[in-house]
C-alpha cells in the first residue's frame, strides 16, 4: 500500500465487468436451484389484492396490455396472478393491446392459464374478448373512450363483437374497472381520457422504473391500486396461494439486490480510503 491508493484504488476503480459476472452468477444460481427464501408482503400489494377482490361475477373489466413482449417478461407474475383472480371471480374481460407485439401475448399468457380456464370454463367470446392492437397513439385512446363501437366492431380475429357482453359498452365509462399492465405506453393517455373523464376505477401493474411516477397517481386517487413489477407479482402469487414464475425468481431478486449493495459498499470504502490517502478525485470511479 505504499503506492498511490493501493488496495483502496482497486476497490474504488474496479472493472464494471466484475459487476456483470457476479450479477450473472447470483441471478442464474437461484433460478436453476431455488433456495425458497421467505418474502414479505408489502401494503401496496395487499391493497391491489383487496381492490381486485371487490369485483363481482359479470363485471366487465377493460384489460389493457400496454406492454411489449420484453416488458411482459418483467410483468409476467403480476399478469398471470391478476388474470387468475379475474377467472376465479368470473369477470368479463375486454382485452386490448397498446403495442403490436401484443399479438404474441394471448397465446403465451392463456397457455400458462390453461388449467384455470378449464377449471372455471372460461372461454373466448363468452368470458373474454380480445379486440387487439387498438392503442397506437393518444388519439386512438381518446376516440375509443368516447365511442367504443364506432372504433371497435370486430375482435382481433375479425369476428363481430355484436351480441357479446361488449354490447353494454357505449363508452369507457361503462366498464366497471380498468386493469392495466404497462411499460409506460398508453397509460397516461388512459388516465387522461378514461379515468379523469369517466371516473372509472383503474388498477395498474407497472414495471419498476415507472413505479415512482405512478405512486403520485395512486396517491391522487387516479389509480386505486398499483402492483410493482416482478416483486409485486410474486407477492400477489403468494396472496392467491398460486406460486408461479414470480415466487421462483425472488431468490435471484434478493441476491441480485444484495450483491449490488455490496459493490456499492466496496466502491465507497475504496473511494474514501483512496481520496483520504491521495487527496485525488476520480470522476467516474470505475472503468
Amino acid at each position: 500500500m505504499a503506492d498511490e491508493g493501493g488496495i483502496y484504488k482497486k476497490m474504488a476503480t474496479y472493472d464494471k465487468r466484475w459487476v456483470y459476472v457476479v450479477l450473472f452468477i447470483v441471478v442464474l444460481g437461484p433460478l436453476i436451484r431455488p433456495f425458497g427464501m421467505p418474502i414479505g408482503i408489502s401494503a401496496m400489494t395487499k391493497n391491489y389484492y383487496n381492490v381486485l377482490d371487490t369485483l363481482e361475477e359479470g363485471d366487465i373489466v377493460f384489460d389493457t396490455w400496454n406492454m411489449e413482449f420484453s416488458g411482459y417478461m418483467e410483468l409476467k407474475p403480476g399478469v398471470l396472478a391478476t388474470h387468475k383472480m379475474f377467472i376465479e371471480k368470473g369477470v368479463k374481460l375486454c382485452i386490448a393491446f397498446g403495442h403490436y407485439e401484443g399479438v404474441a401475448l394471448p397465446g403465451e399468457i392463456f397457455k400458462q392459464l390453461q388449467t384455470w380456464l378449464d377449471r372455471y370454463d372460461y372461454t373466448e367470446g363468452e368470458d373474454y374478448i380480445i379486440i387487439g392492437y387498438v392503442f397506437p397513439n393518444e388519439a386512438a385512446v381518446a376516440a375509443l373512450s368516447q365511442d367504443f363501437h364506432s372504433n371497435v366492431r370486430v375482435d382481433w380475429k375479425g369476428e363481430s363483437i355484436e351480441g357479446t357482453f361488449l354490447d353494454e359498452i357505449q363508452n369507457a365509462g361503462d366498464f366497471d374497472m380498468i386493469s392495466d399492465y404497462t411499460t409506460g405506453l398508453a397509460t397516461t393517455h388512459m388516465i387522461n381520457h378514461m379515468v379523469l373523464q369517466y371516473d372509472i376505477p383503474m388498477v395498474e401493474n407497472s414495471i419498476g422504473v415507472s413505479v415512482p411516477g405512478h405512486l403520485a397517481n395512486l396517491d391522487a386517487g387516479l389509480l386505486q391500486a398499483l402492483l410493482a413489477s416482478t416483486r409485486g407479482g410474486a407477492e400477489l402469487e403468494f396472496l392467491i396461494s398460486s406460486p408461479g414464475p414470480g415466487l421462483k425468481s425472488m431468490d435471484a431478486f434478493t441476491l441480485g439486490h444484495y450483491s449490488l449493495i455490496i459493490f456499492i459498499i466496496i466502491g465507497n470504502i475504496g473511494h474514501y480510503g483512496w481520496t483520504r490517502r491521495t487527496g485525488a478525485r476520480d470522476r467516474t470511479g470505475i472503468k
Partner: protein
Amino acid sequence: MSLVAKICAETDTRLIVPTGGGSDTYITREAAVDLVRNAYTAAGVPELFNEEDMPFLSGEQYAYTPGYVGILVRERPGATIMTGSHYSEAMNIAEMANGVDSITITAGCYTSNMAALACASDYIMLGEEQPAAGAYLSRDPAQMASIRVQDIYKFIAIGAMLLGLIAVNVGSDVINRLLST
C-alpha cells in the same frame, strides 16, 4: 440541436444524428435534417453537411438501441448528447457511451428515467432545464417568453398548493374541489 449543429459546422466537427426509438419519430428525421442543414448553411459551410450521418434507425426502441450502440462502438464519438423521450434505450446508450469514453449529456423528458440517467450520464438536464437552456443560448424572444410564462405558472401552482395546504388544515376542501375534475 441547432446550436450543436452550428458549433459542429463552425469547428468542422462530424455530427452524427441517429433518429428513431418510438412510433412518433417517423417524421422527426425530416425536421432534424432541415434543422441541421439550415445550421450548416447559416454557418457558411453547406458542403460539410452530410445527410448520411443522420440515419433513421428504427421506430422500435429495441431495434433502435443496437443500431445506436453500434454507431457508438464504431465511431467512438467524443460526446453523446441525448435529448427527448428516451425510454429503456437510455441506459443502454448511456452505459455504452461511458464504455467508449464519450462524455454523456442527457436532456430527457421521460421522468421515469431521470433517476437512472442521473447515475449513468456525466451531465444531465432535468425536466425544464433543456428548453430553458435552448432559450438562453438562442436568445429567441418567443422561447424566453415561454420560459418566463412557465415560471409564472409555477408560482401560481405553488400558491395554489399553499392555499390548499392551509385550507385542508382548517378543514375546508374548497381548493381540492376546485382543482378536481
